[in-house]
């Protein structure tokens, strides 16, 4: 009896040595992760608080996918928490880690880390103004942060009093979606001042520019607060030229994007829709139907107008990306990281 007791005791008393610490990946690919022009970067948000945001690199010609490329290139455990968006500029990729309150700057060709810009509250989107200055919109700080790209620090901020989302630069003027007050903010980047704000529909979430230098803004309509609206805006006269209303109030259109020639709009509204800038009404039929999928990310390849859509499945596993030809035929499908939300086409 006693022997049994001591044997069990000895077996259980001595713990094994462990060498792993923190989250570990079972099946992270070791594919080639050197970027070339025309590659597609997939931005995977990851789960809020779980630090599993990542970027994946897809090579359209070879049809290969490399996941977690930043972690692998830098031998680090994480890129950050909730990777909201990414932007390519001057040889670098800027990845905005929303819940890590930082922007990670990496080399565009090999993902080697260059710098980390810190001090944000809840950063969302990045826009370079010139070689030394960029704007970063924010969910909670009620301001837009001005980043000095020379030393990668926040130099100042523009107080706007709202949640700012997507933004673009046109004709030395910055146009920003204001999600709180449903405005289009107009900012003069030469002196970082807010010069005007124009009322839009409820929750303007995305903004693009067409080949007639008109701006298009998608308003999601909130949680059945109002109908979704697609707004055509003339930046010269600062007037709304057209408003296309989504008749079903439950719809939440989003992810407005445009092809490289600036004449075809694409957006997500359960399905993926395609609309010419000269159309007089919203498209009546879907360009890509979602079937059993729930589409989360949408991107249009500037080279060949191929369409990439992402499904995050249950949001707690690797999402899937579907690649369609410009005519809407499925070309490829591949698994990426967790919650794929945005596409960046390497130029």
């Amino acid at each position: 009896m006693k022997q049994l007791f001591y044997t069990i005791l000895i077996l259980l008393l001595f713990s094994c040595k462990k060498d792993e610490l923190g989250p570990q990946c079972v099946n992270c690919s070791e594919e080639d992760s050197n970027t070339e022009v025309a590659d597609v970067l997939i931005v995977n948000e990851g789960n809020f608080g779980w630090g599993n945001g990542s970027v994946s690199l897809y090579k359209p010609n070879a049809k290969t996918i490399a996941n977690n490329v930043y972690q692998q290139a830098n031998s680090v455990n994480t890129l950050g928490d909730v990777i909201q968006s990414a932007y390519q500029f001057n040889g670098s990729i800027y990845a905005i880690a929303n819940n890590s309150n930082k922007v990670e700057v990496m080399n565009e060709s090999n993902f080697q880390s260059i710098a980390t810009i810190t001090g944000f509250n809840s950063p969302r989107y990045f826009l370079p103004i010139n070689n030394s200055k960029a704007y970063v919109t924010d969910l909670y700080s009620n301001s837009i942060q001005v980043v000095n790209l020379t030393n990668n620090t926040i130099s100042s901020s523009i107080s706007v009093g709202c949640w700012t989302e997507e933004l673009l630069l046109h004709n030395d003027t910055v146009y920003v979606c204001d999600m709180t007050n449903n405005n289009l903010l107009i900012i003069n980047p030469s002196n970082n001042t807010l010069v005007d704000s124009i009322k839009l529909g409820v929750e303007p979430n995305s903004i693009i520019k067409d080949n007639n230098n008109k701006l298009w803004i998608m308003c999601g309509g909130g949680m059945s607060e109002d109908n979704g609206k697609l707004i055509k805006f003339n930046p010269q006269t600062r007037t709304i030229e057209a408003t296309f209303v989504f008749t079903n109030i439950a719809n939440s259109p989003s992810k407005l994007t445009i092809n490289a020639t600036g004449d075809n709009l694409y957006f997500a509204n359960t399905n993926i829709y395609k609309m010419n800038i000269n159309d007089t009404s919203l498209p009546s039929s879907a360009f890509i139907t979602s079937n059993t999928n729930v589409f989360y990310g949408l991107g249009v390849d500037p080279i060949n107008e191929e369409i990439y859509v992402a499904d995050a499945i249950d949001y707690v596993q690797n999402g899937i990306v579907f690649r369609y030809s410009s005519s809407g035929n499925l070309i490829d499908q591949f698994y990426v990281g967790i919650i794929p939300g945005e596409f960046l086409f390497i130029e």
Binding site: K18, Q24, T116, N142, V294, Q317
Partner: protein, 633 residues
């Protein structure tokens, strides 16, 4: 119906003779002396936690983590902790305080960091179907926290002060008096902790040593009881007030250098229970009415987020047991419960009735105890008439030291207010989650000279239908649906050894649990989660406590191992296993016949392991706690 096809033949075989409530003999013997609470039938797996372990742990989450096979998910020391049984979720664990379910009507959960162990006299774990005896919703099991009232003790008091690492100060004071008729006790508790421990931040390439910031906690509480004993009954009230203020530290991923994070959470709970229990020669009863009021305030001043939620529950219960004879009992429980919640996440205040009626019979034969009961559930306007359970215990040997237990049940968990009404996303069309479960256990005790060994092996199976999960819809709003279907199966093993070697008393209590918890249902064709282990359910869990007492010295060594836990439903990411050891040494000195002084010294995480219980949440390394206890009896 797979559960029933697997277990029913056996149950039927053992049941054909009739039904019994297992504890009937005990009750009959004792009831003439004192009014006691009934225990769940022995056909079910119930584990009473060791009172020494309760005394040694500083919080309920620590206690369960160190000395039970159930899984504790903690966001860090002092932070939110939830527990789950057998692969189910945190909202599938019922928590009862003196018989009253405490789970929030908003999220169906209980935060285990808000229960100081000195406020509890004994704790019991009801596994699987035994949770159904106490109420609905416990698809995994339930945790019962109880206080005792002992008459004829005279004056008694406890004065306890602990000082520990990270500016941890715990004060606990208890004063009471009881005679033949009256029992009264008052208890005060205060705990402050900075949680400013150092850890290696592996989120950064240089992996710097970082001091945890913004993690202070302050908890205080009061408990008061007054009971009056009559000839064949007793009447009493018990109050619980608890207040917790804590800063919420960010996870390791947040760049803290410039930002002053400013998230806080305040919890306040007020609980009152009025209880009248007694007996006649053929009848045992307990009537309770309880009032529960909880408030939670989340504040993030930097991001201007302030969210307040208030819940209020009135719970009335009539619990009666009729003894037709010494071997045959009828049990009847009627519970009328009203739940109300008001939160910033709802458009309005919501309320509902959550009522139950349990009716059961139980019979004891020479070696066989059998019990059968049904629960009728009425939640708001929905009625579920059938939630049954049947269980048997069979004494295989004449010495009554080898027991077989088998039981099976169907239980339901109703959607919470958040599931139904959260704006936006709440889904009022949700069905209750349904679980079919069964277990089979063997319990063996042997004693040889001065050694007693008790060992228990239990196999369990459950199939949960309509499991509620929150997912974004096409319009990007997160909304709950009954999408998931889960199968849980596994084994639990417990070994208890007590032996004496000359003047040395040795004890050992070890648990091992193996849990396979798999998702059965695909969301669409591309879903890779089917037949994979659920996230944050470890396959393997081990913990054991070794105790050695000689003269007035008492040494314990506690070890706990939590196996690999997956973080994603496709099982592509996981957290590696943790191995944590804790050691304590104490000495008791008798100052006079009534007064004892105990000096305790505890080292947590003695091997200074760096680990994460939840991804990117820092956990403390080696830390110390000194406790002085002065006890007057």
């Amino acid at each position: 119906m797979s559960v029933f096809s697997k277990i029913l033949p056996l149950v039927v075989l053992l049941l054909w003779q009739g039904f019994v409530f297992a504890q009937s003999i005990d009750t009959v013997q004792i009831k003439t002396v004192e009014v006691i609470d009934e225990k769940p039938p022995e056909a079910y797996k119930v584990v009473e936690l060791d009172s020494v372990a309760i005394h040694q742990a500083t919080s309920l989450s620590e206690l369960l983590n160190n000395s039970s096979p159930i899984f504790v998910k903690t966001y860090g020391s002092g932070s939110l902790a939830s527990v789950s049984f057998r692969g189910t979720g945190a909202s599938h664990t019922s928590v009862l305080w003196n018989g009253i379910v405490l789970n929030s009507p908003m999220n169906g959960q209980v935060d285990f960091s808000l229960f100081p162990t000195p406020f509890i006299d004994n704790a019991e774990l009801n596994f699987g179907a035994s949770g159904l005896v106490n109420g609905t919703g416990a698809l995994g099991g339930s945790v019962s926290l109880n206080n005792t009232t002992t008459f004829n003790k005279g004056f008694f008091s406890t004065l306890q002060q602990s000082v520990g690492s990270f500016n941890n100060y715990i004060s606990n004071f208890k004063l009471g008096y009881s005679n033949q008729q009256w029992f009264t006790e008052t208890q005060l508790y205060l705990n402050t902790n900075d949680h400013n421990f150092e850890y290696t931040n592996i989120a950064f390439k240089e992996q710097p040593r970082i001091t945890q910031q913004n993690a202070k906690t302050k908890q205080y509480g009061l408990q008061q009881a007054i009971f009056r004993r009559f000839k064949k009954s007793q009447l009493g009230v018990r109050f619980w007030y608890f207040n917790s203020d804590r800063q919420l530290p960010t996870n390791m991923l947040v760049n803290n250098d410039v930002n002053t994070q400013n998230e806080t959470q305040a919890d306040e709970s007020f609980r009152g229970i009025l209880e009248w229990k007694g007996f006649t020669s053929k009848f045992n009863y307990k009537i309770t009415t309880a009032f529960l009021k909880d408030k939670l305030i989340y504040n993030d001043s930097l991001s201007n987020i302030y969210s307040e939620s208030n819940t209020q529950v009135i719970d009335n219960k009539i619990n009666g047991t009729f003894y037709l004879n010494n071997q045959f009992q009828i049990k009847n429980i009627v519970s009328i419960r009203h739940e109300q919640a008001k939160a910033d996440g709802f458009n309005e205040s919501h309320q509902r009735f959550n009522n139950h009626w349990l009716f059961g019979v139980s019979k004891q034969f020479k070696r066989l105890d059998a019990t059968l009961f049904n629960r009728l559930i009425m939640v708001a306007d929905k009625i579920q008439p059938i939630a049954p359970s049947v269980g048997v215990q069979y004494n295989v040997l004449k010495r009554n030291n080898l027991k077989i237990k088998a039981n099976t049940a169907i239980n339901y968990n109703y959607p919470t207010f958040n599931d139904l009404y959260w704006a936006a996303g709440g889904n009022s069309d949700l069905k209750p989650e349904k679980s079919e479960m069964a277990e089979l256990g063997l319990n063996y005790t042997i004693s040889h000279q001065k050694t007693i060994i008790n060992t228990e092996l239990t196999g369990f199976y459950s199939h949960v239908y309509d499991w509620i999960i929150w997912l974004p819809t096409a319009s990007s709003i997160w909304s709950p649906s009954n999408l998931r279907e889960v199968e849980n199966k596994g084994l639990e093993y417990n070994l208890k050894v007590k032996t004496t070697y000359q003047k040395l008393n040795l004890t050992f209590n070890g648990n091992y649990a193996y849990t396979l918890s798999t998702n059965l249902k695909a969301k669409n064709d591309y879903d890779n989660s089917v037949n994979k282990q659920l996230i944050y359910v470890p396959y393997h869990q081990i913990n054991h406590t070794f105790g050695a007492a000689i003269k007035n010295f008492y040494l314990t060594y506690n070890y706990n191992y939590t196996g690999k836990r997956f973080m994603t439903t496709d099982n592509n990411w996981y957290l590696p296993p943790n191995f944590i050891s804790n050691v304590s040494l104490s000495k008791t000195v008798k100052l006079n016949p009534q007064t004892k002084l105990n000096v305790g010294f505890k080292i947590n995480n003695i091997f200074n392991q760096d680990y994460q219980a939840i991804a990117w949440r820092a956990m403390p390394g080696r830390n110390y706690l000194i406790t002085l206890t002065l006890q007057f009896n």
